[in-house]
Assembly symmetry: C4
Homo-oligomer: 234 residues x 4
């Protein structure tokens, strides 16, 4: 076990342990990573290890080309997706992948989550994008690596910035979220699940419900995120 990564492992451990506490994972269906861009590595959950058996020193250190640095176990099977995103996104400090129930159902339906209310607009100004399923040759090839590109391509095609839009659904699969820190990425995973649930209920209550109007989207997002934001403590 390498000592230089002790703090990173501790952070990754604490972030991972939030997933079951927030009800976002069944068994091992999820993982969190925390990056150190200066060192060019990230710490990630070991593959298939139940949450109640995790400990900081079991977190695996991987570089941005997905090489296992610490060799203290096999990292999450989704590691290459994390690696490629960190390699391209310099300002992302944490990434979360879950199979949370409602967000995954939208991904399975291959639908964007429409922006129906201010709970959604408090966090992002557009529908939650759903990246289309990959082409067969990408699936058969370097699947998890390509998943990272599928995510980045989807944002690029829609002219969305990863620094503004911190969540996505991968079609047929499940959600990924990220943020400047791992805590923010975990927060986004829980917000996404709640937004997905509310949108599900909204469409049942009112089929063909109209989206939130632009003025409300702008107002709510800027309350929390604009230069004149007035949410939270200073």
């Amino acid at each position: 076990m390498s000592h230089p990564y002790k703090e990173l492992q501790e952070q990754a451990y604490l972030a991972n342990m939030q997933l079951p506490a927030l009800g976002l994972v069944l068994f091992t269906f999820g993982n969190v990573s925390v990056a150190d861009h200066n060192a060019g590595v990230f710490a990630i959950k070991p593959s298939g290890v139940p949450y109640d058996l995790l400990s900081p020193e079991k977190m695996v250190i991987v570089d941005f080309d997905a090489n296992n640095v610490t060799n203290n176990g096999r990292p999450s099977s989704d590691t290459k997706t994390h690696a490629v995103l960190y390699k391209h996104w310099a300002h992302v400090g944490g990434i979360v992948h879950t199979h949370s129930t409602y967000a995954t159902a939208w991904a399975q339906a291959q639908r964007d989550i429409p922006i129906y209310g201010t709970t959604h607009a408090d966090h992002l100004t557009c529908d939650v994008p759903c990246a289309p399923p990959m082409h067969d040759d990408m699936i058969k090839g370097n699947y998890e690596h390509e998943t990272g590109f599928q995510i980045m391509n989807c944002l690029n095609e829609r002219k969305l910035s990863y620094e503004e839009i911190e969540m996505i659904l991968v079609g047929n699969h499940a959600p990924f979220t990220w943020g400047k820190t791992a805590d923010k990425a975990v927060y986004n995973a829980a917000v996404l699940e709640e937004v997905a649930r509310m949108a599900y209920l909204t469409e049942t209550i009112r089929p063909a419900c109209p989206r939130l109007k632009d003025s409300l989207i702008k107002k709510h997002f800027e309350r929390k995120h604009g230069p004149d934001s007035y949410y939270g403590q200073q």
Copy 2:
């Protein structure tokens, strides 16, 4: 920290802590205030502070023009809505705002919650009103202040008294509830969420379900609230 408001802060703290206990909030998506009409102030949750980090002395004291009296932090971003309601509603002692899941879904659908059963009629004699989304100029202007007027205007247009109808949905946004005390306002927030959930299920079980008939509405409301009520201890 001003000592004169110690009791008010304590009340606001206890009322706020009921929201996570009742499952009505995710993270910081909610707030409770408690008013002292003699002193012309109310205590409200500080903005963006997680519930498990709250304490009585962190509750911010604000006057009915939304001026920060204690300056011990930034009050909830919804503070101006609370202020304007207290200013106009002399008999309201507590106000609650949440983004509870089912009530928010009805708000997002911009629909009143139909009165389908006695659980609803035990608490109010009409559909739960949903105020329409505001005009764009109101949203761009003093948004939270205008939200208070949007609530009052909706009640006025429907000739409803805030002393009888203690809950409302703000279209596209989420619910507000109130009461003579903060405890009653929190109680109303939980009742609204349950009524919203039951109405959701009822419409799925029977689309175009008829509303409760007048005789049952009257009977159930008067059991609990009329001059000859016989619910509860004397």
Copy 3:
């Protein structure tokens, strides 16, 4: 406090406390009673008292004409319904009333719960009956007393025995369940809620789903209840 009823109060207290533990009540929306047919009385939850403030000595003793025997508080507002049922049903030892979410939604929709599977057939051999809402003059009159007759009339019209069918929905209102003991009545309340939830999901998965066929209804009911039953310990 009369000592002769100490045991009955203890039983009623324990049975009432099962309702929140089973997730069947919000606040005070439910009550359990336990009858002593030899003494001609039953113990019932006091009206409007939160479950966490209950204690055995607060249980109110009432006779089968709904007279308050112990005068240690006001009994549940539904007391007259319990009284009239005990008066007519000699073999019922406990009655439960809740506003549990799914069962209440079916009651609000004024629909019987169709028998779709063996979970239902393990407990009763027909749809869960939904009694129609009462006539206006009955509602305006002795409402809770008439509710008891509404329940009994519904069973009689369908030629159902209260000793075989231990649960019913009162249209627009909520469920009542009963049994030889209060424990059985509480058990039935939880089973009804689960059966109501499963039927709700079944109809969404398959609209116009066929009912369970007679051979399976008979088999499952007799496994648990027939003369040759082989469920449970001997």
Copy 4:
């Protein structure tokens, strides 16, 4: 109490206790068995005994012809189904039966659960099969014994191997799952419930949703189960 079965009973006890912990059972609506193929017996939950009253020594030992070996109580009423499956499936070490809510709703609807996403494909490569309800003469006869054959026939007709497909719905009834160990069978029961819930939500979000494409089914299953699997620790 026979000492030779002490370990088997302990395993069965621990496996059974996982069902309430995972939220898969109400009251006694479920059971787990653990087989010892060398000894030709299995340990199974006693019939109708609440989970909080279970202990290892109450587990009943039964042989593969469903004879009670230990006579320390009556085994689960579903025992003959377990027995016949163990008799024919040499590589199954544990079997689970529950009435978990979403899986049971699909069984009541008599529908296979379509494979809509990778959560499903991580565990099996086809729809979760729903065996049709049995013919009336089989129901009237040796019902639980025939249920085992109904399960095996369904797999055979679809050319599915019990070593690859470890879960099934019995039409109108509820799910059965199995595995090389009882722990795996319990794991499968929880996975099935989650897959059933996600499929339910997916169909509501997008009626007539397409199934997962073959390349993704293959990729996800082989990540976890193929000869080149890279999920979990080595």
